[in-house]
Symmetry: C2
Subunit: 299 residues, 2 copies
Amino acid sequence: MSIIVLGTVALDTVKTPYGARRRMLGGSAVHFAMAARLFTGVNLVAIVGRDFPRRHIAFLRQKGINLTSLIRSAGKTFQWQGEYQGDLNTALTLSTELGVLADFKPAVSREQRSIRHIFLANIDPDIQRHLLSCMRSPQLVALDSMNYWIKNKRPALVRLLKKVDIYVANDQEARDLSGEHNLVKAAQKLRRLGARMVLIKKGEHGVLFSGAGSIFSLPAYPTARVVDPTGAGDTFAGGFMGYLTKVKKINHASLKKALAFGTVAASFNIEGFGIKRTANLRQQDLEKRLGGFRKLVLF
Amino acid sequence: MSIIVLGTVALDTVKTPYGARRRMLGGSAVHFAMAARLFTGVNLVAIVGRDFPRRHIAFLRQKGINLTSLIRSAGKTFQWQGEYQGDLNTALTLSTELGVLADFKPAVSREQRSIRHIFLANIDPDIQRHLLSCMRSPQLVALDSMNYWIKNKRPALVRLLKKVDIYVANDQEARDLSGEHNLVKAAQKLRRLGARMVLIKKGEHGVLFSGAGSIFSLPAYPTARVVDPTGAGDTFAGGFMGYLTKVKKINHASLKKALAFGTVAASFNIEGFGIKRTANLRQQDLEKRLGGFRKLVLF
């Protein structure tokens, strides 16, 4: 089994109270891949520019990521520059340079089209729909988005909701798209809009999951060591989807364990800049922290 | 075993998107008592005015609350008037009339002085300290407060922290008193200030507990039925302290189960105006929802 992820590969410049880093390897697809690879083969569908350092390509390949559908195109790699202050809960975007992302049209190799587990990370919903239309027999499709698309491409996004199994959103996005403040109601509304299941990421407050006839909720893994939260949501999704791809079955037990793996994966991500902590993570690190996490919430 | 609670008995006038109620029986000590009584005998230390309806006295007595130390004094009962809008997460205080509370000096009967479990609900820290000084052999003391005292009586509050076992705060209060935004750090700081254990209530996001060598965290019980959140924090404290008073032992297992009972008790509170839902609650209702809650978080 393997999973295919459509998203961004970026060069991130980040400043937090703990320091600053320039042009780190980042992007939704990369953060997702760092966690998902611990469970399953990961196929990356993304675009980079000619400026993209070859060592990053080598690194991703060395981590076992399938780069067949990573396009390298004339132009500049997508760049994001952001800053976190005080609580590190909210990123202040200083600049976004789309570069080659502006004309991205994903191409998926013939073999990859039969992959059944699909994660559509945050990117233009039209590109997400196009990728999905390339896939021959989707079995589990999850979709992430962001406020920009909720505001500017709502109809396209809502159409897409009907085609996905799991809509993944942070709390603000869930509220914006549903028009409901109470997150339990927001999840219900989003399911009425078409998503079979809804996963709401609440950052330091954990996660709420609605679907498969149930609601699940988990707190975040409590940590005082928040260095850089960039990519935590995608890392969560990587752990969550990676685990589900590995076990294949979708039921209450597997969904809850997937949420727990997502939680734990994200908790590593925030402990270092960019992918510093997740790049060298091993499955046993996840397992160990999962055990500790279970003790925190078991009563 | 029994517990003594110092706090307010109030007449609450509340407006939420679900309706409005005038001069309902409320106050921190009452909300606390409604949950704690399901586990243990509750002794109430508070003051009301001559206007306090006799039917409320009869009601509390009928619920088994010991009213020996409830003072009925010339003047008006403490009144709070508030409104919740939209998300029902934040109360907008429209008016507060202290009435007899302004000159409250708690008196505890001779027999009650030997009670070992003590909850100091939100009230002037000087009154809390006075009550504590009356008690002969405190074994488990928990303290709640609010932003007003953190701002205006910080030294008194910090002195009191050193004398309590558990400091109970909502997230904003924990941040304000500690000066730390990250709640894990805030809890550490509050423990350095003197509290042996710290319980941070995060409303719809659940609870974080730090102490006894561990951190525990639980999400809230997910519900779409939020009618009136007034008193949810005190109801939480009532379930939490009530359970600990009943089982006597303070260890990881009992603390976690107490947090779960607090969570579940609070989830009933918010489903109706004032104490509508908790007034007729039975222990088996709590137990049943606890079972459902366990399934939500178990992985």
